[in-house]
Homo-oligomer: 490 residues x 2
C-alpha cells in the first residue's frame, strides 16, 4: 500500500469527524433544548480536541514525505493536506486552546454588549482576542505579513496588498454610483404590510426549489442568524422570518441555497477528501451572491416572484412587476452590512478591511476602535453612527477571531460578477427560464463550471477557467452601473 | 495529581464523544435528509473508531493500576471503567468499525424492507450483522457462553440461563391469564374514530408534562420507531402518530418520558462519568414501563385521560371512565410487540429471546428465520402471521446489532412490578394525584430511590435497595392477575 493511501484513509476519518462537529453546531443553532448549552460546549470541546490531535498527527508528515500521488487530483489532495498540516503544526496547542476558550467566551460577551448597546465590557475581551490572533498570525506567517497569514486561511493565495489595490479600483465607481442613485428623484417604493410566517416559509420553500435546492440532501429550519451547514449528502439551510419584511426570509434563503448547492454540487468522488468542500470563502460567497443577486434580484426572476408573492399574500402594496423589481433593489442609507444593497455592500467591507488590517498591524488600538469606526463610517457613508449596536458591535466576526474574513465577501461579489458575465454568454436565454421561476440552466452551468470541482482548482484558477478571462472587478461594476442606472433612470 | 484524576479527565472526553455519537443517531432517525445515509454511516464509523481507540487506550490500564479511588462513587467509577476497558479491548478495531458501518446501513435497508413488506433484500444484510455479532460475542465471551456475553452488555451480571428460568416461571401464569381473559364474555369496546395528528401531538405534550418531562432539557419529534436519546442536559423523546389509534402516540410517549426522565433524573454530579447514565437496559425499561403501565394505564390516570381525550376529540365512542379504563387495557390477539397489552407483552419477548439465542448459538440460520418466526408465533399466539411487516420485520433491533437486548424488556417489567409495589406502599395516596393528571409524587419517589443513583448501584442491588425486597416476578404477576381479573370479571 502506497503511503498516500494511508494518508487518504486517515484524512477520510478526519473529514468525517469534522463533518460531525459541523452537524453538532447545526443542532445547537436549530433544535437543541435551551438547557443543554454547558453540555454542548463540553461536547464541542471534546470534538475539537480530537480534531486538533488528528490535524497535527506526526504521521501525516511521514506519509506526505513517502506519498506518491498518481493523479492530478491526488497531487492536489496532498498539497491541501500539507497546507493544513503545516498551518496546524505551527500553532502551539496552548494558543489554540486559549483562542478556543476566549472566542467562545467573547461570543457571549459580544451578544450581551450588542443587546445592551454598550461596548465597554466587550472591548477588553476583543483586545485579548486580537493579541492572541496576532500571536497566531506571527506563528503562521513565519516572518511574512501577519494579515496575509490570516487571510490565507479563508482565501488561499490572496494577499492584503492585492485586496487593497482591488478596493482602490472599485471604490470610486461604487461611490459615484451610490451618490447618483441616492441623489435622484426616482425612488422605489418600500414594501409594506404584514406577511404571516407560515405563508413566508411555504413560499420560501418554493423559491429554494426554483433555485434547485436538493431537498433529499437538505432541509430548512429556523435560526437566529441564517447559515448553511454540511456537505456531500447533507447540506442544510436555515432562515429567519420577519413578518413585516418577507424579503429577509426569501433572499437569505436564496443566499444559503447558493452556499449549500456549492457543497452539494461537488463531485461525489471527492467526498471525505480535502477536495470535497468549497475551495475558499470567496468562491463560496460567489455562489451565494450570484444566486441571491444576479439571479434572485434580477428583473426576470423578480417578475416571477412578484406574481407568487401577490398570490400568496393576497395582493401587495406594489402593483406592477417593474416597480416590484425596483423595490427589491432599493438603495437606502443604512448602518448594517447584512442589510446593505448591492451598491453599498462592498463599501461596508472596505471599511472593515482597512480597520482590521490596522488592528492586526498594531496601528490601531482596540480602545480607539469605536471612535475609529464611527469616524470612518461618517467619512464613507456621510451619516453619524447612532449607537454602537449599529456600529462597531454589529458583526460577530472579530469576537470569534475572524480577522481576514471580511474581504472574502467582496471577493465573492467580484467573482460573482465574472461568473455572471460568462454565464449569460453561455446561457443567453437564461432570463426566459428565470421568468418562469426556473434557475435550472444557471444552476447546471455553475455546477459544471464551478461547483463540481470542489477544492481541485485554486480560487483564481477556478474562476478564470470557468470564465475564460482574468479575474477582474470590471464585470461586477459594469453590471451594477447598468442595473442601477436603469432602475433609477440615471 | 492522582492517576484517578487523569483517568477521570480522559473518561470525561470519551463520555462527551459518546454523547455526540448518540446525538448523531437521533439526527439520523428524526431530521436527517433521506439522501444522507451513506455519509452518516461513514460519520458513525469514524466516531466509533475514535471511541474504540479511546476505550482501549492502554493508558486506561495504567491509570487503573495506579488509581486510588477516594470514595464509594470513585470505586464504582473505576470498576465500570475497568469493565468497559476489558470488554472493549477484546473487540478488534476492525470489527467495531465494521459493525458500526453495517448496522448504520442496515437500519435504512430494514426500514425499506418493512415499508415494502419484503424481507428478501434485508435478510442477507441481517446475516452479515449476525456473523459480525457472533464474532463480537466470541471475542467478549473469552470461552464462555456467546449469548451471555452479549446480554451482559445490556444487563450486567445477567445470564441467558437465569432469564430462561425466569421465563419458565412466568409463562404458565401469563398464558393462563391470557387464555382466561380472551375466553371470557366481557370484552372491552375498542376505541374508534379519526384522531387528527395535530390534536394528538398537542394532547401528548400535555401528557408528557403530566409525567414530569423537562422540556428545557428535551424535545419531542416524530420517528418511525419511538425512542429516547441522550442524557444530562439533553434527553430527547420521539413518538409516532396513527390517526386511527391515539393510544399509540400517547402511550409510546409516556414510555419514552420514563426513559428520558431516568437519564435527566441522575445526579448532575455524575455527568460525563460512567455513573451518569442508566445502569442497565432492564432498569431503564422498569422506568418506562412503570410510567406507561402501572401509572399510565392505571384506573386513576385513565379517568383523567378519558376526560382530556373526550374534550380534545369532541367526544369518544367510549362514554364512561370505567369502560375507557377497560379499553386502554384491552387484550386482543395481535402481531406487534410494541402494541401488545401487558398480559401478552412478555410472551412476545420470550419468543424473541428463544429465537435470538438460537441465532447466536448457530442453531438457526437467517435464511430460515422468517419461517421459524412464523411457526413460533403460531405456536405461542395461535394465529398465523399475515405479512412480514407484522412478523419478522417488525422490530429494528437485530438490524442494529441488538442481540441479547430483548429480554431486558421483560426484566424491566419484572423490576417495574417490584417498584410499583414499593411505590404504592410509600405513596399510598398516589392515585388521587394521578386522577388529577399529576404523576409528580411517583416521579419524586422514583427519582429519589432509583433515577438519581445512575450507575452507582448494580441493577439488582438498586432495585432491592429501592424496594427493600428481593427481585421477583411475583409482584408483576400478582398485579397483572389482579388488574385484568378485575377488568375482565374473572
Amino acid at each position: 500500500m502506497n503511503a498516500f493511501d494511508d494518508l487518504l484513509a486517515f484524512q477520510r476519518q478526519t473529514e468525517a469527524l469534522s463533518s460531525v462537529a459541523e452537524r453538532l453546531g447545526w443542532d445547537q443553532e436549530t433544535v437543541m433544548p435551551r438547557g443543554a448549552t454547558e453540555q454542548r460546549s463540553e461536547e464541542m470541546a471534546a470534538m475539537e480536541a480530537v480534531l486538533h490531535e488528528r490535524r497535527t498527527d506526526p504521521r501525516i508528515g511521514e506519509w506526505l514525505d513517502a506519498a506518491s500521488p498518481r493523479t492530478e487530483a491526488e497531487t492536489r489532495i496532498a498539497a491541501l493536506i500539507q497546507r493544513d498540516f503545516t498551518r496546524a503544526s505551527r500553532i502551539p496547542a496552548r494558543l489554540a486552546e486559549e483562542l478556543a476558550r476566549q472566542t467562545s467566551l467573547a461570543q457571549g460577551i459580544w451578544a450581551e454588549a450588542r443587546a445592551a448597546d454598550a461596548p465597554e465590557a466587550y472591548l477588553p475581551v476583543l483586545d485579548q482576542i486580537l493579541m492572541l490572533k496576532r500571536e497566531e498570525a506571527a506563528a503562521l506567517a513565519d516572518g511574512g505579513d501577519l494579515y496575509d497569514a490570516l487571510l490565507d486561511d479563508y482565501e488561499p493565495g490572496m494577499t492584503g496588498a492585492r485586496i487593497a489595490q482591488l478596493f482602490d479600483r472599485m471604490r470610486p465607481r461604487l461611490v459615484a454610483l451610490r451618490d447618483a442613485v441616492l441623489g435622484t428623484e426616482r425612488q422605489p417604493q418600500p414594501l409594506s404590510g404584514h406577511f404571516p410566517q407560515e405563508t413566508q416559509l411555504r413560499l420560501t420553500r418554493t423559491v429554494a426549489t426554483a433555485f434547485g435546492y436538493d431537498w433529499s440532501r437538505g432541509r430548512m429550519d429556523i435560526a437566529v442568524h441564517p447559515f448553511s451547514s454540511g456537505r456531500w449528502q447533507d447540506s442544510r439551510i436555515t432562515t429567519r422570518v420577519v413578518e413585516t419584511d418577507p424579503f429577509n426570509c426569501l433572499y437569505s434563503t436564496i443566499h444559503e441555497v447558493g452556499h449549500s448547492s456549492y457543497e452539494l454540487g461537488i463531485d461525489p468522488d471527492y467526498a471525505f477528501t480535502p477536495l470535497g468542500r468549497g475551495v475558499s470563502m470567496g468562491v463560496h460567497e460567489s455562489q451565494s451572491r450570484i444566486y441571491e443577486n444576479q439571479m434572485g434580484r434580477g428583473r426576470a426572476f423578480a417578475g416571477w416572484l412578484f406574481q407568487r408573492m401577490s398570490d400568496a399574500f393576497d395582493g401587495l402594496n406594489i402593483t406592477d412587476p417593474d416597480a416590484f423589481y425596483a423595490t427589491v433593489n432599493r438603495v437606502t442609507p443604512g448602518f448594517i452590512r447584512t442589510e446593505a444593497d448591492e451598491v453599498q455592500y462592498n463599501l461596508h467591507i472596505m471599511m472593515r478591511f482597512d480597520i482590521e488590517r490596522d488592528l492586526i498591524a498594531g496601528r490601531l488600538d482596540v480602545k480607539d476602535l469605536p471612535e475609529a469606526w464611527n469616524a470612518r463610517f461618517h467619512a464613507d457613508f456621510g451619516v453619524a453612527v447612532d449607537r454602537p449596536a449599529n456600529g462597531v458591535l454589529q458583526d460577530v466576526h472579530w469576537s470569534v477571531g475572524l480577522f481576514g474574513y471580511f474581504p472574502t465577501y467582496a471577493l465573492g461579489n467580484v467573482y460573482a460578477g465574472c461568473l455572471d458575465r460568462a454565464l449569460r454568454a453561455a446561457v443567453p436565454d437564461l432570463d426566459a427560464a428565470l421568468a418562469r421561476g426556473d434557475a435550472g440552466p444557471a444552476v447546471e452551468w455553475l455546477r459544471e463550471n464551478v461547483q463540481r470541482h470542489g477544492g481541485l482548482l485554486a480560487p483564481t484558477e477556478l474562476i478564470e477557467t470557468a470564465t475564460r478571462a482574468p479575474v477582474s472587478e470590471a464585470p461586477l461594476l459594469n453590471y451594477l452601473e447598468h442595473k442601477f442606472g436603469s432602475i433609477y433612470g440615471l
